[in-house]
């Protein structure tokens, strides 16, 4: 369904919890300053691990408004989701209490759910890995909420008063884009009028660090944490783990207009494709990501030349940055060379399933402010990465349509096109 022959979906509220500053305002300040939030891991002693760096959020659940019981029953990622959803709802100016709750849905993306809570709980019930038959007497009462991450959606639904369709979308590192795409379809199909949608992950935990160590996906640049995330740079050596959440209020365009809502952007097009190649590997040609981009543009009825900015996946692994550079050229042709491309993972790290939504937030804020965030730490581009990656400093740049992409384990390749709703169609 395309925007001109059916219901259209717009973003009217934005919330962000990210490393370097809580709240959308602080997040945007960090990005436009070009500052990095990557540091030596402080949550546990990282010295036994190959990669000892992460972008940690300075998040205080009580100061963020969560009650003691909410804190007790929720994993850190669920806490992010609820706090960030409340920010998005407040930002939207929409009176949720006045809505029919049956018409309000919730879609939350997460790659690894409550992995931090599970890691801690396993350690206790197994007595440090000693017991094969783990001891239920040492489990927290809400352990089932950690087992199944749809608890995140339940918590957000309770927080905002939603009783429409609810689910978690968990497609690895594209979850945050796919959750927005899924929610958009719910509104287009008419099964909801408003969806609180976004993504959250809090993976900075020994098990996650160890599993990425095992495949050398994360950077070992431990002597220089602030400059460790180096997308598109020739010296890049892997990604830096991050954490956080971004949540949006998605609304049907006409009702948003009727209430005089501030409209950040339309979710104009979305598509996902799979490479069917390898659980962690990428083929260098970027064919499947290019196809996702082509279909998303087609759905948005925007020509490649209509894209003003690309918010890249830009994880900073050798293969990713070449893969997506190839995908941009394949899908946009020469226009890829004329379009600013940047990776905010250089500043806030890679928060797995959350990052897609955090990058959608960066994209709509770029449209809002007429500024493109930079790629930090980019001094010597990889010769195979030969596009305009907006190195080091933010750029004043009018953006009417943004392409935001993601790529993840499992082979998922997703693309979202965000655009001003009053744009002229191709």
């Amino acid at each position: 369904m395309s925007p001109t022959d059916g219901r259209r979906v717009v973003i009217t509220g934005v919330g962000v919890t990210a490393p370097g500053g809580i709240g959308a305002k602080n997040f945007w300040q960090l990005l436009t300053d070009g500052r990095t939030a990557t540091r030596r891991i402080s949550f546990f002693d990282p010295s036994p691990f190959r990669s000892q760096i992460a972008a940690e959020a300075d998040f205080d659940p009580e100061a963020s408004g969560l009650s003691p019981q909410e804190i007790r029953r929720m994993d850190r990622a669920a806490q992010f989701a609820v706090v960030t959803a409340r920010e998005a709802v407040a930002d939207s100016g929409l009176d949720f209490a006045g809505l029919d709750p049956h018409r309000v849905g919730v879609t939350i993306g997460s790659a690894v759910g409550a992995t931090t809570g599970l890691d801690q709980e396993y350690r206790a019930v197994s007595d440090g890995g000693r017991l094969d038959l783990v001891d239920h007497a040492y489990a927290v009462p809400h352990l089932y909420n950690f087992l199944v991450p749809s608890s995140f959606t339940t918590e957000v639904a309770w927080a905002v008063g939603a009783e429409g369709p609810g689910t978690v979308v968990s497609t690895g590192c594209t979850s945050g884009l796919d959750a927005v795409g899924y929610a958009t379809d719910l509104i287009r199909d008419g099964v909801a009028d408003v969806v609180v949608a976004g993504a959250s992950d809090a993976p900075i935990s020994p098990i996650t660090v160890a599993c990425f160590d095992a495949i050398k996906a994360t950077t070992p640049r431990n002597d220089d944490p602030e400059h460790a995330s180096r997308p598109f740079d020739a010296s890049r050596t892997g990604f830096v783990l991050g954490e956080g959440a971004a949540v949006f209020v998605l609304e049907e365009l006409e009702s948003a207009r009727r209430r005089g809502a501030h409209i950040y952007a339309e979710v104009a097009g979305y598509a996902t494709r799979s490479n069917a190649f390898h659980m962690t590997g990428l083929r260098p040609d970027g064919a499947e990501m290019a196809e996702a981009i082509r279909v998303a543009l087609d759905e948005a009825r925007i020509a490649p030349e209509g894209i003003d900015y690309i918010n890249a996946h830009g994880s900073g692994t050798k293969q990713n940055d070449r893969h997506e550079t190839a995908a941009f050229k394949r899908s946009l042709g020469d226009h890829a060379y004329r379009t600013p491309v940047s990776s905010i993972k250089s500043m806030v790290g890679h928060s797995l399933g959350a990052i897609g939504s955090i990058e959608v937030a960066a994209s709509v804020l770029a449209m809002e402010h007429g500024v493109v965030p930079p790629t930090a730490n980019l001094h010597n581009p990889d010769p195979e990465c030969d596009l305009d990656y907006v190195p080091l400093t933010a750029r004043d740049w009018r953006t009417d349509a943004v392409l935001s992409v993601g790529s993840g384990f499992g082979g998922f390749q997703s693309a979202v096109v965000l655009a001003r709703p009053d744009r002229s169609s191709r």
């Binding site: 783990v134 749809s150 608890s151 369709p165 689910t167 660090v209």
Partner: protein, 406 residues
């Protein structure tokens, strides 16, 4: 909008039958697979019964290189997907690029694999964690592995809404087919019968205790006191009706005619639970009146207040004792996200064979005004079936399947 997508292939891995016909024969015979757990010693836990898949040997079905990198759940899912595509007569290599995807429901990921790696981490150290942990445990693994095995490059996804997720995955497959994808391998397979998974499930407070296999999982019974978990599920080939017709598909089990999902209100709100709205929404989406529904496959939580909510929703929609209700999952245990796709397979076989499979165990359902099919299968022409699924945390999902044709 295109015609309703159809189901052209069924791949079943159930505790009481590996493979579609084995499962269906066992189900019509009322053969239960619920027994004492064998995969670990359950003696010290308050709940000790499960529906395990006994006779499954992954190496008989899958290449050896896949075994060390996959959890049991994924091995079962890969086999289920193979059988589903075979049943549909699909050779994925002959499909155009991007014509087919994979949409599964997740629940707890490859939890047993994860337990082994957590043990390695905490007892020996980070460098003993497997290189496969990064993708063998996470929730997207089944969709990713199935996509790779069959070269399916179209839209794929993973949804999680606890035990309701299996229907939400089928609904998302239906949506993608309506948007232009030729077919989607969709459904769910779950397995987390390991001590760590068991302890996490115990925390739900919903597991039946004790050792009496006959009286453990008794939905709608006055003795209902929780469920027995199981492992397995089903993957379906959901196909564009015209695509199926054009290729001369050998079997068309039925249409995915309507779906709706709701969430319950926050506890203590005093508002009604969402299951009745899910039923109404699915019937409306399907364009079906309550009188046209021939059978309801119940969620069958076996928790008294949840049984009551489901029974009342059925009674309000259809009238007292107005439609046969059944829960063949009493023979398998609840398979978490795998349960509802397996129920959809059973509903499609009810349509095919004109018989409603029984609920076993439950003997005293007279506290509710529902016509529960108990003990033995009931022959009946079935053209339209409603499948219900609910999840911990207030998820409700309802799917209508219909016979194709007149």
């Amino acid at each position: 909008m295109n015609a309703h997508p159809v189901v052209t292939g069924l791949g079943v891995v159930a505790p009481n039958g590996l493979g579609l016909e084995e499962y269906w024969a066992a189900t019509l015979e009322g053969r239960s697979a619920i027994g004492r757990i064998t995969r670990f010693d359950p003696s010290d836990y308050p709940s000790r019964l499960a529906g395990e898949i006994g006779a499954f040997s992954a190496r008989e079905h899958l290449p050896s290189r896949l075994l060390p990198q996959t959890d049991r759940m994924t091995q079962l899912a890969l086999v289920s997907a193979d059988w589903s595509l075979q049943d549909a007569g699909i050779d994925p290599g002959e499909l155009p690029d991007y014509a087919a995807g994979v949409i599964t429901a997740g629940h707890s990921g490859g939890f047993e694999f994860g337990q082994n790696e957590l043990k390695a981490l905490w007892s020996k150290g980070g460098r003993y964690v497997s290189a496969y942990q990064s993708f063998a445990w996470f929730y997207a693994v089944n969709s990713g592995q199935i996509s790779i095995r069959h070269g399916l490059r179209g839209p794929s996804s993973v949804v999680i809404s606890d035990q309701a997720g299996g229907l939400d995955a089928l609904a998302q497959a239906r949506r993608q087919v309506r948007k232009g994808t030729s077919l989607v391998v969709a459904g769910a397979v779950d397995a987390s019968i390991c001590s760590w998974g068991w302890v996490a499930q115990l925390a739900s407070g919903r597991l039946a205790t004790g050792d009496d296999v006959e009286r453990a999982y008794l939905p709608f019974d006055s003795d209902a006191r929780g469920h027995v978990p199981g492992e397995g599920g089903a993957l379906l080939v959901v196909e564009d009706a015209e695509h199926a017709r054009a290729r001369g598909a050998g079997k068309v089990y039925g249409q995915l005619a309507g779906h709706a999902a709701t969430m319950d209100p926050r506890p203590g709100s005093g508002r009604a639970p969402g299951i009745e709205r899910a039923i109404e929404g699915a019937l409306r989406d399907a364009g079906v009146s309550p009188a046209e529904v021939d059978v309801v496959f119940a969620d069958a939580a076996a928790i008294p207040e949840l049984d009551r909510a489901e029974a009342e929703a059925i009674t309000k929609t259809f009238g007292p004792h107005a439609v046969p209700v059944t829960a063949p999952k009493t023979m398998t245990g609840r398979l978490y996200s795998g349960a509802a796709p397996l129920d959809v397979a059973a509903a499609l076989l009810s349509i095919r064979d004109g018989v409603i499979p029984p609920t076993i165990g439950t003997s005293r359902a007279d506290r509710y005004d529902i016509d529960l099919v108990v003990g033995t299968p009931r022959p009946a022409p079935v053209r339209t079936a409603l499948v219900l699924a609910r999840g911990h945390g207030g998820f409700n999902s309802a799917l209508v399947v219909r016979a194709v044709g007149r």
